[in-house]
Chain length 224, copies 2
DNA sequence: GAGCGATTTGACCAAATGGTCAAGATGCAA
DNA sequence: TTGCATCTTGACCATTTGGTCAAATCGCTC
């Protein structure tokens, strides 16, 4: 009857979970991402998550003792992946290449993990009840660091002047739009990022527009 | 005991509601926008909407017989306002002026009606269960019409080539980002659109970036 | 294969919530 | 003032849902 919750009591080995725990937590988190991203926190039900994970509600509650705990774990699980691309912006690279690669990566993320994008958007739109501290802490530091990188590029004349943070917001907003609003995109164009042609068309349009906007030319490989 | 619902039985005059109905429906829709935009459809409760509207739950249900009816009415109420700016894009104007004005207007909307923006975003992210027909109908026609306007500008050499629909998406995504993600914007910059200085800074940055991106120069008045 | 903790589940509970209903209060025309 | 439709509400109900619990089953070590 020991609860496994959160960082869990590491029953046997040092820091690891048992094979069963590993598998079930993973199944739960996948199901939770699907459910939360589709219905939001309030609209999701523990029972549906359990069903999608292939276990009883009671058993799910054995691994995560509350709905909120599932939600937090799901958020934590995707957050690292979600913010990874920005970390790669390299001050020593050429702005055009770096930004083109960043934009492509972000659009790729929107294509590969639209649910994660929507979950994150949902959380922030509700006022970021769970992740506000992260936004104000880690994310803020990261953005300030990368803003400095952009500022350096501007000061060394490598690109046009712009408020770095607004450039970052524009890249986030635009790239994530294709995931979060994919239903609308599909309704208006008949296609979405799952279509490889539309994907490349989107990368080309967005990269062209934004790089052009700061006085850069898209590299031949388009950031690929 | 007659229900007032939807388009309502116009009890007395021709097409009009009684003074009391007018007032209460308006109070309800305001409260509903606040509640739905904050909590989403599932997270919102009829009781809280009623409380915020200053009446009993029962009375609210007298005006809108189901939660879904309130939600639909709220959406319908904001949708027209929300899509209005795009309609003003004028094929006969100069692209720079027209687009600068459009961008400013959209950011102004994000500043003035952030709740409407979030409600709309929420609805679309959940798969647009209520407004999909509108997206595929009226909105699609409108976007196609305006895409043609942009296409004309391109063909007459007034602006650089870009896929018009992607330009529209980028403008939507970016301008609405400042409303939908305002908590994040605030966490990262310490400010949001309610700060007049930040508002103008945002208009300048976004307008500069996007107009530049299609080979245009921002008009002196910045679209104001 | 015995023993014991880890895992799994169905039965159950309490709170929240959307919606109904009958009765009372109010506004207004004659 | 009377009469009637509009408006308003508290009491109430059925369902959904997050979470508890005791009992059963499983898996692994000795």
């Amino acid at each position: 009857m020991t609860r496994v919750d959160g960082q869990g009591v590491d029953s046997q080995k040092n820091g690891g979970l048992s094979r069963i725990q590993e598998r079930n937590r993973s199944l739960i988190l996948d199901a939770a991402l699907s459910e939360f991203s589709k219905k939001g926190f309030s609209g999701a039900t523990v029972e549906r998550i359990a069903a999608e994970a292939g276990m009883s509600k009671s058993n799910l509650l054995y691994y995560f003792s509350t709905k909120e705990a599932i939600y937090k774990a799901t958020l934590a699980h995707i957050l690292e992946v979600w913010l990874a691309p920005l970390k790669m912006l390299d001050a020593d690279g050429e702005p055009a290449r770096e930004l083109a690669a960043y934009i492509r990566q972000k659009i790729q993320m929107s294509a590969d993990y639209p649910q994660a994008s929507r979950l994150f958007a949902n959380e922030v739109m509700q006022g970021a009840p769970q992740i506000l501290p992260i936004l104000e802490g880690d994310l803020k530091r990261l953005v300030e660091e990368k803003a400095k990188v952009i500022e350096t590029w501007i000061e060394t004349g490598k690109m046009q002047r712009i408020e770095p943070v607004h450039l970052i917001f524009t890249i986030w907003a635009t790239t994530q739009h294709y995931a979060d609003f994919s239903i609308q995109v599909k309704a208006l164009t008949g296609r979405d990022l799952s279509d490889p042609v539309f994907f490349e068309e989107t990368v080309a349009s967005v990269t062209g527009l934004l790089l052009n906007g700061i006085g850069l030319t898209v590299p031949q490989d388009g950031g690929a």
